[in-house]
Structure formats: structure tokens, C-alpha cells
Symmetry: C2
Subunit: 128 residues, 2 copies
DNA sequence: TTCCTTGCAAATCGTTTGCATAATG
DNA sequence: CATTATGCAAACGATTTGCAAGGAA
């Protein structure tokens, strides 16, 4: 894979690096547009896909029908608020034990695992 | 929610009950059409959504961009083959311990958890 | 007769892609 | 110069929805 430098791609990575939440392509687009008013959604999608493919960022499919992107590629759990849709990091360490357990009774080859937790985030729990 | 009987809905449930894999809406449509040649994709989607909402079936979002549906609503893990796309059940028991662990360090309210495993199924592993 | 359900088609949403042009190495 | 990246718009695939007609209680 032959890469060439691009200011747009840099800007997308930079933006992602500043966010601890997990923006969608559209959010990335809205924000990067402040530095590159002419950037197109297509370019944003192309670069997000490329960066995810080469492992510089992670694509998160949390089941809400929209892809989220994460600058942090270290394995960690995510929480998805069913009410506001926010995706946040959890700091419980990820274990591989479950993969070993499952592998024991499975004839295929398990390469990985995706887990996300859902519920109500603290902001969405009514305080009285 | 006020439900009325419908042959189409029955047929969709019946079909799902016979399958241990996890058909997509389109697959359900193709099959139910054998009994109801005039059924529309919209009706299939509407009923699958309805049945999932009232908890009679489960909607699986395994990250391949298409919703799968499962007649078995008991909590169990799923494996997704990255090569052929097949979704199969795993028989490793689901534990709630991980939820308790995560809840310890999380201010929100965790209601559930979704895990799927991916890799190569036995059919897709080359035999030499 | 009420109102839920259907079939049909059009609409929506997120994402991808073809193409001509611009930028990079 | 060779090739990758861009902007734009059109295309796409999965799913949803508006509407008038049909069916269940």
C-alpha cells in the first residue's frame, strides 16, 4: 500500500486525537471543515476507512447503525448509552480468558472478540 | 401496544423458529414468500422490528452492516465468520460477572452487554 | 366499525464509488 | 512523470415510511 501525504488526512487524525469520545464520520466532517471548508464527506470516509485499515485508528460498530471512530487502538471496552447514544471508554481491563474458554468447544479459529456494554450513562439518570 | 393477528407475522415467526442460523430480513423475505407470494419486504421488516421490540425474537447486530434475527432470545454468544459471514451460536455459558466488574468503576447504570466473536469457521479453514 | 396490518413505492440514511482535476513524491 | 488524493455528485444497500386498501376484533 503506497501512501502519499495529505493535509486533509492529517487534519482528520489530529481531530480524532483530541477527542476522547468516539465521533462518527459526520462529526469528523463537520469539525474538519473548519480547517478545510471544501473537504468532502467522501474524503472523510475514504480516509477514515484507510486509517482503520492500516490500524492507525479503530472503527467501532456499537450497533446503533452508525460507525464510530476511535483514535485509541489499544483494546478497551466501550459503553453505549441507550438514551443519548454517547459512546464512552471503560477502564475495566480487557481479558482474553473468554476467548480461550470459547475456543475450547469451538471447531473454528477465533481471532478476536467485540464487546460493548449498554445502559444509561450518568448524565441520563434522572437526579431528584 | 395493541396487536392483531396476522398470517404473515405467524409465518415469519414460524420460519425463524425452524432456523438455527440467523437469517437477515432479506432471507426471511425470500422464504416467507413461498407461502405468501405477495408479501412485501416492508411487511417483513415491520414484523421483525415489532417482534424484536416485544421481545419475541432478538435482533443481532454483528457489525457486518446487516441485521440478523434470532428466534432464541436466551442470552448466548455468537460467532461471526469473517470469511463467509455465517453467524453461529456458541455454547459457552454467558456470565454476568463482567457486568458486575465493569459496574464497579462506572457511574452510569449498565443494563446489558453484547459480545460476539469473530474469526474463521471450520468450513473456511483450508484442509490440506 | 374501529383500527391494526398490508402491499406498494417512494424516501431516508449511512456509506461507497466513478470521474476529472489537483497535489504529492 | 507516475501515482495517489481530492471534490463533487451520483449510486448503493439496508431499512423506514406515507398512503390507500384489506383484514381482524
Amino acid at each position: 500500500m503506497n501512501l502519499k501525504h495529505s493535509k486533509q488526512r492529517d487534519s482528520i487524525k489530529e481531530f480524532l486525537a483530541t477527542r476522547k469520545d468516539h465521533p462518527t464520520a459526520d462529526v469528523v466532517y463537520m469539525n474538519v471543515r473548519q480547517s478545510f471548508p471544501n473537504i468532502s464527506l467522501g474524503t472523510v470516509y475514504r480516509n477514515l476507512t484507510l486509517l482503520a485499515d492500516i490500524g492507525e485508528i479503530a472503527r467501532l460498530r456499537v450497533g446503533d447503525g452508525v460507525d464510530h471512530f476511535d483514535y485509541d487502538t489499544n483494546p478497551h471496552y466501550h459503553f453505549v448509552c441507550s438514551e443519548c447514544g454517547d459512546v464512552t471508554d471503560l477502564n475495566t481491563p480487557v481479558t482474553n480468558q473468554i476467548i480461550k474458554d470459547v475456543q475450547e468447544t469451538f471447531e473454528g479459529e477465533i481471532k478476536g472478540q467485540v464487546t460493548y456494554f449498554y445502559g444509561r450513562c450518568s448524565n441520563c439518570i434522572p437526579k431528584n
